[in-house]
């Protein structure tokens, strides 16, 4: 089987606009969840959000993306995508090669334009410039056209595990010989659609979220994007290799459309499958970047699944209390954070935790520590029971 390496990273989150800014903020235990400054919603003063504090106009100018049809979701993606391809030193020729693929993920896509979509869908306008921008495919269609990506191009939406699945699909394209290089990632912008959706399910916290705390009161929504360049052994030979993607597994919890089963069968099987594919025993896992949303259901079930699989649970944390839940971007952003753990042999504090959950008693890592880190598991679970775990290893 071919091996898959990460040779380029691009990231834009409420913590920072590049890899280093994100690392420094994680080290310092900074929280990017604040009152809204840019996005307009009735919930603006009722709850905090992980907002990227760069407005669309600035993004458009900086990225030279002035097409009237471009959405914030696409701008965030383009920002991270540009960094990733520059980091991996990909030329235009590399990008348009038929063996270079692009696999992106999004949960909300162009529906971040909730008001415009309302007008177009109900025909109260003559048609906005966004008619072909609302769907999920619009983001990667834009990136493909802008960079003339020559290989397979795809968009995946499995709710909150979307970009973990994009990474997995990209790795499998390489392993199956359908690409030699794949640019993988995810993006989502704050949207009235997601805010009102999660609010209707009563899982948004009025405060900054508290993953794995017994008094947790829900999640915070965030926005951002991350892209990674995956390359096979041959293409990555003389390049800086951040990490190797050694394992991955996609399962379904098959329990409920919007909550996880008591025993966490889906999460358990996803983590177990990733270990099995990598041929690594559970004792070798040094760290877990959990899904850890801060909801009543997720954190308890994820804890139980970790206890079932590991017995003694390795160090773990949730970065949802740093940036909020970035939905379709979260799997890719957290993959980048897991890679930072490996590259710098360090673990960042999990914020917002005080009291363990009674039934599971697990305590996340609470301070910055230097540590030998060889294998990191990154969990992403979504509505519809879609569970995916990725396993990154030190090179």
């Amino acid at each position: 089987m071919k091996r898959v390496y990460v040779t380029g990273i691009g990231i834009l989150t409420p913590l920072g606009k590049n890899l280093n800014e994100n690392r420094v903020a994680l080290q310092l235990g900074k929280c990017g969840i604040t009152n809204l400054e840019l996005f307009k919603t009735r919930y603006a003063n009722k709850m905090p959000f992980g907002e990227v504090k760069i407005d669309n106009k600035t993004l458009q100018q900086e990225l030279k993306a002035n097409e009237p049809s471009v959405t914030r979701t696409t701008l965030l993606a383009l920002y991270a995508f540009n960094q990733a391809i520059n980091d991996a030193k990909l030329s235009q020729q590399d990008l348009s090669n038929s063996e270079t693929a692009l696999i992106g993920a999004t949960t909300i896509g162009g529906m971040c334009l909730t008001d415009e979509l309302y007008k177009d869908a109900n025909k109260t306008s003559k048609g906005s410039p966004y008619l072909s921008s609302y769907d999920f495919g619009s983001i990667n269609m834009y990136l493909q056209q802008r960079y003339q990506i020559g290989g397979i191009v795809n968009t995946i939406n499995t709710a909150c595990s979307s970009s973990a699945n994009a990474i997995m699909y990209g790795a499998r394209l390489i392993k199956n010989g359908l690409a030699k290089r794949v640019i993988v990632g995810g993006t989502d912008a704050l949207a009235k659609f997601s805010i009102n959706g999660f609010n209707s399910l009563m899982i948004l916290s009025p405060n900054i979220c508290q993953p794995f705390d017994s008094n947790r009161s829900g999640l915070n929504l965030g926005e951002g994007a991350a892209f990674l360049v995956l390359e096979d052994e041959h293409l990555s030979e003389k390049k800086n290799k951040y990490a190797e993607l050694t394992g991955y597994c996609n399962t379904n919890d098959a329990f409920h459309p919007s909550s996880l089963s008591e025993n966490g069968e889906g999460p358990y099987l996803a983590m177990q499958g990733a270990l099995k594919l990598a041929g690594i025993s559970s004792t070798k896992i040094d760290f877990i970047n959990t899904h850890g949303t801060g909801t009543e259901n997720n954190d308890e079930v994820e804890s139980r699944a970790m206890l079932r699989l590991f017995g003694e649970v390795p160090s773990f944390s949730s970065t949802k209390s740093n940036i909020g839940h970035t939905l379709g971007a979260s799997g890719a952003i957290e993959a980048v954070y897991s890679i930072l753990n490996l590259v710098h042999q360090e673990i960042y504090p999990s914020l917002g935790f005080a009291t363990p959950i009674e039934s599971t008693k697990l305590i996340p890592t609470l301070s910055y520590i230097k540590k030998d880190v060889s294998h990191v598991l990154s969990n992403s679970f979504g509505f519809g029971g879609n569970c995916t775990s990725l396993l990154f290893s030190k090179v």
Binding site: R42, G109, M111, T114, D115, L117, Y118, D120, A121, N122, K123, G127, L131, S132, Y134, D135, F136, G137, S138, N140, M141, Q144, Q145, I149, I152, V153, N154, T155, I156, N157, T158, A159, N165, R172, L173, K175, N176, L178, K192, F193, I195, N196, G197, S200, L201, N250, T251, N252, A254, F255, H256, P257, S258, E265, G266, G382, F383, G384, G385, N386
Partner: protein, 344 residues
């Protein structure tokens, strides 16, 4: 390469219960609306909450799962998922100015709801994914299934494509120029020299694996491209055929996604010329939608299984006495193209 063992299809024609196409359902107001099964196996408590895309997806999936329960992955392509629920929820957001809303439409609207509900109803913990890449959502599902079979040759997988017409996405796509403005009938769809096509919807599912024995058909190869350059389509097709057809092997049918849009005829024409065989088309029966290529694969399987092609589907040439090899070509809106090579 993958082998297709069972198929099911809900379309605007009688494809679910009776595959003879004895009655052709007409285009109404430039739409071809599906004929949903009158009885189905979805529990009523769940059914009443489901949008049409989810119902179609589950009914076609269950028709296959009834024949084969041991399924190791559910791989679905859908560009829009539950569009109707999605916009119903969106309308509530605006109409009630972000007030207190009920979550039903929101939960139903997520694009991954179709494979998720299939997993839920059949207690399937295996691989589960939703490809949403517009006009190549189904093709990416096919590529995924081919990789899974390469990785696990003995496993069975459920592969499918689903999309619905909602009144809302019809309006958006109409404004975007995807549909014709003048009234269209089955007889005029391909005659009008105007832009746009007609709206369609449907679902097709396939039980696929790596086992040749008793297979209905083989999906030998697939290729996807993003371009609006017809020369690039041409050179890609030539390369696709030369790398997958064996010496002297001829195509028995060319099944094209011709949809009546005058702007897109140039692509079909060039592919038709290269295929150089009997040309067959189907969008007067299904309408146009991003995952309609799932239905084209269903038609190809049907032609191979029955060794028949309905006369109304033939564009040019004679129906061959033996139908062994079919080239399927589709393009969505002129910038997403796919080729599939199907065999007996």
């Amino acid at each position: 390469m993958l082998y297709i063992h069972h198929t099911s299809c809900i379309s605007a024609q009688n494809t679910f219960s009776d595959n003879t196409f004895s009655i052709i359902n007409p285009i109404v107001e430039n739409k071809l609306i599906v004929i949903e099964p009158t009885t189905n196996q979805i529990p009523n408590a769940v059914l009443r909450r489901m949008g049409k895309a989810v119902r179609m997806g589950i009914n076609t999936a269950l028709a296959i799962i009834n024949k084969e329960q041991n399924i190791k992955g559910i791989i679905i392509g859908t560009a829009n998922g539950g569009m109707e629920d999605c916009i119903k929820f969106l309308n509530q957001i605006i109409d009630y100015d972000e007030g207190t809303l009920t979550p039903t439409n929101f939960v139903q609207s997520t694009a991954n709801n179709i494979p998720s509900q299939i997993s839920l109803l059949t207690s399937n913990n295996n691989y589960n994914i939703t490809h949403v890449h517009r006009g190549l959502a189904f093709e990416n599902a096919v590529i995924d299934a081919m990789m899974l079979i390469n990785e696990h040759p003995l496993n069975n997988y459920l592969l499918g494509g689903v999309d619905e017409i909602s009144i809302y996405n019809f309006k958006i796509s109409l404004l975007d120029g995807l549909y014709k403005k003048e009234k269209v009938t089955i007889n005029t769809l391909y005659q009008l020299k105007t832009p746009g096509s007609i709206a369609g919807e449907g679902a097709a599912m396939f039980l696929v694996n790596g086992k040749k024995q008793n297979a209905l058909a083989t999906l030998r190869a697939i290729h996807t491209i993003h371009t609006s350059d017809k020369k690039w389509v041409e050179s890609n097709l030539l390369k696709f055929l030369s790398s997958h057809l064996v010496d002297g092997e001829k195509l028995d049918l060319f099944l094209s996604g011709e949809n009546g849009d005058c702007r897109l005829n140039k692509y079909t024409k060039i592919c038709e010329k290269i295929a150089n065989t009997t040309s067959v088309r189907y969008k007067h029966l299904t309408g146009e939608f991003p995952t309609v290529s799932a239905l084209s694969l269903w038609f190809a399987c049907n032609f191979i299984e029955t060794q028949k092609v309905p006369n109304n589907m033939v564009k040019s040439g004679l129906i061959p006495t033996k139908i062994n090899t079919i080239l399927i070509y589709n393009n969505y809106n002129g910038n997403q193209h796919s080729f599939m090579l199907v065999n007996r």
